[in-house]
Amino acid sequence: MTMKVTVEISRVLAAIRPGLAERAELDLPEGATVGDALAAAGLVQGLWGIVVVGGKVADVSTKLSPGDKVTVFPPVSGG
């Protein structure tokens, strides 16, 4: 069984590498985590700062549910 999950990458983060989409619709296996979704969206470790799922701050081990939206922000750039 798979589930549909959306990953939204903030525009400023998507701009750092050609081909990184601002929005990705993913089919992931049931029980997949935020880390799985980020990897499937093409994000390697260190690229993300804050990750939000369902309005709450999440981390890579957070389990996803069908229909979840994962919003990804860049690490702080120090202004």
Partner: protein, 620 residues
């Protein structure tokens, strides 16, 4: 004369030597060429501070400038730029500050103040709309920066916005800061020392006028969209909770956290310095700059040896340079050290770096307890930190060479310490160790004011495209060096864009709405490139030998592999650095010695600058 939408319309010129105050109408050439803020600073410093001027003499000028977005109803139009010839680098320098000063300056009727000369005795500049006075202030001289601001607010009223210096500025420490809003600093490049050299303790401003905008309905529409987007932003809450302190954990995890004078980039005790610990252990309340919903300012409490102090901070840069770089043990220790720097009026980045440099010199035996006056200057000691920054601010003992920056201190102490004096152009390196991030390394090497991250921050680009990849990195650095400083010209904070992802299109729409100028974002980027080249030209005009040699990182970064942490064993090679620079210069239209060609300057509307440098034989 047509109304200048988005601008107050007047430059205030104050000569402290003669006591004269004059007003100049804002010229169309200045606005269309240089936008505001840092752009105004670059223009006036290049045009009015001739080569050879002593940065700490009366011939230097200090430009305090707002931008067209400052004080206007849009998210965080809060930035004021301070520009001068830097005593830290001997080159053009600037630093900006948030808070509430920029709008107040425009409401008083001025887009910028040009401060010249040197007052006979301690003075402050009083501005209340059309009333401008140079007032004596003997009783404030020697007072801490935070206490001075409070004293002036008590005397003048809370509605005055105040920029002040501490003892370090009075004593002309080359990394003395300008302080404002009880805890914000224009910290870099020694703008506080320039104020001190002019006997100028503070600037107090109150304004009751308004700023004309071209299209009020259009402005409100875009601003409403921006505020709504920010309010709905999923990450806003984290920013409101932790502010910039949240980055410490991430920076450590990717091997970028300066540790023990940049010997390492991973701190085993980083968890004790995290944003979460700031929030749970020492946080008191949140604080925001003008019209900002992010409220990244964090008022904190710190206790040390029976004393309790309150301060704004520590944010990431302070945590990195004072915390891990001096190997302090807790966020409360960092906060106390932060308070000491704020009150003394020292940049926490250069200040932290200077202390870390002294600690490494001490541990290596290059300086001894005899030199330090008995201070056991070892990593991890808050007591040592406090004693050393006091000596720096007073310019006594080991504080004297350190007060001139780590480059000068290394020249004084020798013993191979030049290799680990972590600076470029004389400005200490800010909070990202970059042996594993070539584009970030290049960003520091080529930053126009010295080793600062504000012009280009590109570590995520290195992570995304490959941390050992060299090709193509220069283009990203140049792109960022034009976009990010544009915010400093417009007088608006860039956190809403770069951290919360507010699209740049909003700012492109704001510009014509505020100013009435039908120019695109790309048009503005050309101006930003012009300013970048004008600043470079300042260095070329200043020194016959200025160029590629000024764009070099310390030897540590290409001779010592990272000893531990996630990037253990990695380093960047001398050959890689040369490739990065060659590619960068070529893309910029500079020669391989890092000097803009006449053709490049002419393309950017700087034909007179090209002619001046050609006549001197400095460019071809």
């Amino acid at each position: 004369m047509r109304e200048m939408h988005g601008y107050a319309g007047t430059i205030l010129r104050v000569n402290l030597s003669t006591g004269t105050v004059s007003r100049e109408p804002l010229s169309e050439d200045l606005v269309s060429g240089y936008i505001g803020g840092r752009g105004f600073g670059a223009h006036f410093i290049y045009r009015e501070v001739p080569p050879g001027t002593d940065p700490l003499g009366p011939g230097n000028k200090l430009v305090v400038a707002a931008g067209p977005f400052s004080g206007v109803f849009l998210p965080s139009g809060a930035k004021t730029s301070f520009s001068a010839k830097s005593p830290a680098t001997g080159l053009y320098g600037d630093s900006n500050i948030g808070g509430h000063l920029a709008g107040e300056l425009k409401y008083a009727g001025y887009d910028a103040i040009i401060i010249e000369g040197r007052a006979q005795g301690p003075s402050y500049l009083f501005i209340e709309d059309d009333r401008v006075e140079i007032r004596p202030c003997e009783k404030l001289w020697g007072m801490g920066a935070i206490k001075t601001e409070k004293a002036l607010k008590d005397e003048l009223g809370d509605e005055f916005q105040i920029a002040t210096i501490g003892p370090a500025g009075e004593n002309m420490v080359v990394f003395a800061s300008v302080n404002h809003d009880i805890g914000r600093q224009a910290g870099r490049c020694g703008m506080g020392a320039v104020m001190g050299s002019k006997n100028l303790k503070a600037i107090a401003v109150r304004g009751t006028k308004s700023v004309p905008v071209a299209d009020m309905a259009g402005l409100r529409k875009v601003a409403d969209e921006m505020f709504s987007a920010l309010a709905a932003n999923a990450a806003l809450k984290v920013w409101q909770d932790q502010g910039l302190a949240q980055v410490t954990t991430w920076s450590n995890s990717i091997g970028a956290l300066p540790t023990r004078n940049f010997r390492q980039n991973f701190y085993e005790n980083a968890e004790a310095l995290s944003g979460e610990r700031m929030r749970s252990d020492i946080h008191v309340r949140d604080k925001a700059c003008f019209a900002c919903p992010m409220a990244t300012g964090k008022y904190c409490r710190a206790r040390h040896r029976g004393e309790t102090v309150f301060l704004e901070g520590p944010e990431y840069e302070t945590t990195a340079l004072i915390g891990s770089n001096c190997a302090l043990g807790s966020i409360e220790e960092v906060a106390y050290a932060n308070y000491m720097c704020d009150e003394l009026g020292l940049d926490t980045i250069s200040g932290g770096s200077a202390v870390a440099f002294a600690m490494e010199c001490f541990e290596r035996g290059i300086i001894t307890k005899e030199d330090t006056g008995g201070i056991e200057a070892r990593f991890g000691s808050l007591d040592a930190f406090v004693e050393i920054v006091k000596l720096i601010a007073a310019r006594k003992g080991i504080g004297e060479p350190l007060s001139r920056g780590v480059r000068a201190a290394a020249a004084a102490w020798g013993g191979g310490s030049e290799d680990f004096a972590i600076q470029v152009k004389g400005l200490e390196w800010s909070g990202y160790e970059s042996r594993g991030a070539p584009s970030m390394m290049l960003a520091y090497m080529t930053c126009d004011i010295g080793a600062h991250h504000n012009r280009a921050w590109s570590i995520t680009h290195d992570i995304a495209v490959g941390r050992n990849v060299i090709e193509g990195k220069a283009a990203k650095v140049i792109e960022l060096q034009h976009v990010r400083p544009l915010f400093d010209c417009l007088g608006v904070c860039r956190l809403q864009w770069v951290e919360l992802g507010l699209p740049l299109e909003y700012y492109a729409r704001l510009y014509p709405a505020v100013t009435g100028r039908q120019e695109t974002w790309d048009d503005l980027l050309v101006k930003s490139e012009r300013i970048w080249n004008l600043v470079r030209a300042f260095g070329v005009r200043e020194r016959a030998d200025f160029g590629r040699a000024d764009d070099q990182p310390p030897r540590r970064f290409y001779t010592e592999p990272v000893p531990d942490g996630p990037l253990a064993g990695s380093r960047i090679t001398r050959e890689d650095l040369d490739r990065l620079l060659d590619e960068y210069y070529d893309l910029r239209g500079w020669d391989r010695n890092g000097r803009p060609t006449a053709k490049t300057l002419e393309r950017l509307g700087l034909g007179d600058v090209a002619a001046e440098l050609l006549a001197k034989g400095r460019i071809s």
